[in-house]
C-alpha cells in the first residue's frame, strides 16, 4: 500500500465547461468561459465526478479554475460545495480535492457557498501559495498552517509539533473534513498542497 493517493489527477474546469457548453449552446461559439446556471454547474460536476470515480477508491484531484472567466453562486454551489459534500461521508470512494486558479473574482462566490454549507476547501490563493477557504475554526487554521509548513507530520511527531490537545483534535478534524490526508499505512498526515505540487 502506498503512503499517499496514487496518481493525483488534474481536472481543467475550463476544458470540462467547454464540452458542457457545446451541448448547452449548440451552434453558438462562446468567446468566454462562464461557469453560470445550475444545470451547467451540475453537468460540470457530473463530468468531474466521472473522472474522480475512475481514479480508484482513494483519489486526490487538482481542480483548476484558471481558464474560467466567471463563476456565479449557483455554479459555485454545484461545482464546489456539492462536489465536496458528495465525498464527505465515510466509505469509498475516498476523494480529496485541491482547487487552483481561484482568482479574486471567483473567491467571494466560492467562499460564500462553502461557508453557507459549513464546508472548507484547500485553495491555491496565489501561484504556489495555499489557504483554507470556507468555514473553519481558528484552531483548524493554525494546525493546517503547521501542516502546510512541514508538508507532512509523522505519527510520532504529532505530540511535539502539536502539544495541545485542542490542536491534535483539530488535526483529526482536518483529516475528517478531507482537508488533509492521513495515510492508513503509516499514520502520516500529508498537506494536500504538497501532494499535488507536481501538477501545478
Amino acid at each position: 500500500m502506498t503512503d499517499v493517493p496514487r496518481d493525483p489527477i488534474a481536472i481543467d474546469v475550463g476544458e470540462v465547461l467547454g464540452e458542457v457548453l457545446s451541448d448547452v449552446k449548440r451552434s453558438v461559439t462562446s468567446l468566454y468561459s462562464s461557469l453560470v446556471t445550475r444545470p451547467t454547474g451540475r453537468a460540470v460536476r457530473s463530468a468531474i465526478q466521472l473522472q474522480v470515480e475512475g481514479a480508484g477508491t482513494v483519489s486526490l484531484s487538482l481542480i483548476d479554475f484558471s481558464e474560467v472567466s466567471i463563476i456565479d453562486f449557483s455554479c459555485a454551489d454545484e461545482v464546489v460545495a456539492k462536489l465536496l459534500q458528495e465525498y464527505l461521508d465515510d466509505g469509498p470512494p475516498d476523494a480529496y480535492f485541491v482547487f487552483s486558479g481561484v482568482h479574486e473574482p471567483h473567491r467571494d462566490q466560492i467562499e460564500t457557498v462553502l461557508t453557507r454549507q459549513a464546508l472548507a476547501a484547500v485553495v491555491e490563493t496565489h501561484p504556489g501559495a495555499f489557504g483554507l477557504l470556507g468555514k473553519h475554526s481558528a484552531g483548524e487554521a493554525r494546525v493546517w498552517g503547521v501542516l502546510e509548513e512541514h508538508g507532512a507530520i509523522d505519527a510520532e511527531e504529532v505530540d511535539a509539533l502539536l502539544p495541545g490537545a485542542e490542536d491534535r483534535e483539530a488535526l483529526g478534524g482536518l483529516v475528517r473534513r478531507r482537508l488533509a490526508f492521513r495515510s492508513p499505512a503509516s499514520g502520516r498526515v500529508h498537506a494536500l498542497s504538497r501532494l499535488v505540487h507536481h501538477l501545478l
Binding site: 451547467t40 456565479d72 453562486f73 449557483s74 460564500t112 457557498v113
Partner: protein
C-alpha cells in the same frame, strides 16, 4: 420597456389578435427604443408598424444590455457573454467602479435571469442601461430591469411556505420571505442565496434594489433614495419585476471617490 412587453403579453392572452401598439412620434424616443432592441423583442407580442428610419436618441444613454428574452439556460449564458463584452468599460468610465466590477455585474445578471427560469416557470426579459441622472442624483447610474410573466413570488413559495404564515400569507409576506430570509421552494440548503448575494453586492455599490410582485413591492433602500422599503396594496402585477439602480461612486469635495 420591459414593462410594456409584460403588458402586451398579458393583454395578448386575453384576446384573439396581438394588441396594437402605437409608437410615439418623437424620433428620440423611437431611436431609444431601437437601440434597446425593443422592436425585436416586441415582435410576436405587439402588432406595430416598424419605424422606417431609426432616429438617434441624442447620445444621452449607453446600452449595457439590449432587451433580451430569457426562457432557457442558454439565454442566461448569452446574457452573461454579451455583458462581459461591454459592461467593463461602462462600469469603469461612467460609474467609476473597479475593473473587476464587470465580473460581479455579470454574476448578478446571471442570478437574476436564473430566478426567471427556476421560480417564474415562464419567460421574461432583462435589460441594462446607463443614464446620466444629472438632476435626480447628480451622477450617472446603471439601471437593470428584469421582468417575467410567471406565477410571482407568492405563487412560487406557496406550496412550501404558506402554511407557516397562516392568515398572514400574501404577496408582501412572500416577498419578505424571499428577499429578507432567503426562503425558496427548493428544500436544498444551497438554494435561496441568489437574491441575498445580489442584495449584498448592490449594498456594496450603494445601490437600490426593489422587487414588485402581485400587489406588493419590497426594497433595499440606500441613503440617497427615500422610497419606502415595503409597500402593499399596489395594482396587481402578474409575475415579478426586479429593478436595480447602481449609482456612480460619489466624489467628495476634492473630487476623489468617497463611496
Amino acid at each position: 420597456m420591459v414593462g410594456l412587453l409584460l403588458a402586451g403579453t398579458i393583454a395578448g392572452r386575453e384576446q384573439a389578435a396581438l394588441p396594437r401598439l402605437g409608437l410615439p412620434e418623437s424620433h428620440d424616443v423611437v431611436g431609444y427604443l431601437a437601440r434597446m432592441g425593443f422592436f425585436e423583442a416586441a415582435r410576436g407580442i405587439y402588432d406595430f408598424d416598424v419605424p422606417a428610419r431609426r432616429a438617434s436618441s441624442g447620445g444621452r444613454s449607453d446600452v449595457l444590455l439590449e432587451i433580451t428574452s430569457v426562457s432557457s439556460n442558454a439565454d442566461v449564458h448569452e446574457v452573461v457573454d454579451r455583458v462581459q463584452g461591454q459592461a467593463g468599460a461602462i462600469l469603469t468610465s461612467k460609474l467609476g467602479y473597479p475593473g473587476t466590477a464587470a465580473v460581479q455585474f455579470s454574476v448578478m445578471l446571471s442570478e437574476l435571469c436564473q430566478n426567471i427560469i427556476e421560480h417564474a416557470d415562464a419567460p421574461g426579459w432583462v435589460a441594462a442601461q446607463a443614464y446620466n441622472w444629472a438632476k435626480r442624483l447628480g451622477r450617472f447610474v446603471v439601471v437593470i430591469s428584469v421582468m417575467d410573466v410567471g406565477r410571482g413570488f407568492r405563487g412560487s413559495l406557496a406550496g412550501e411556505h404558506s402554511l407557516r404564515y397562516g392568515d398572514r400569507w400574501g404577496d408582501s409576506t412572500a416577498l419578505e420571505a424571499a428577499f429578507l430570509h432567503g426562503l425558496t421552494r427548493f428544500p436544498d440548503s444551497g438554494r435561496g442565496q441568489g437574491i441575498q448575494q445580489i442584495r449584498k453586492q448592490v449594498r456594496r455599490w450603494d445601490g437600490a434594489i426593489t422587487i414588485r410582485s402581485g400587489t406588493a413591492r419590497i426594497g433595499q433602500v440606500p441613503e440617497w433614495d427615500d422610497a419606502p422599503p415595503l409597500v402593499d396594496g399596489l395594482a396587481p402585477l402578474p409575475g415579478a419585476q426586479v429593478s436595480i439602480i447602481l449609482p456612480a461612486k460619489a466624489t467628495d469635495a476634492f473630487g476623489t471617490g468617497g463611496a
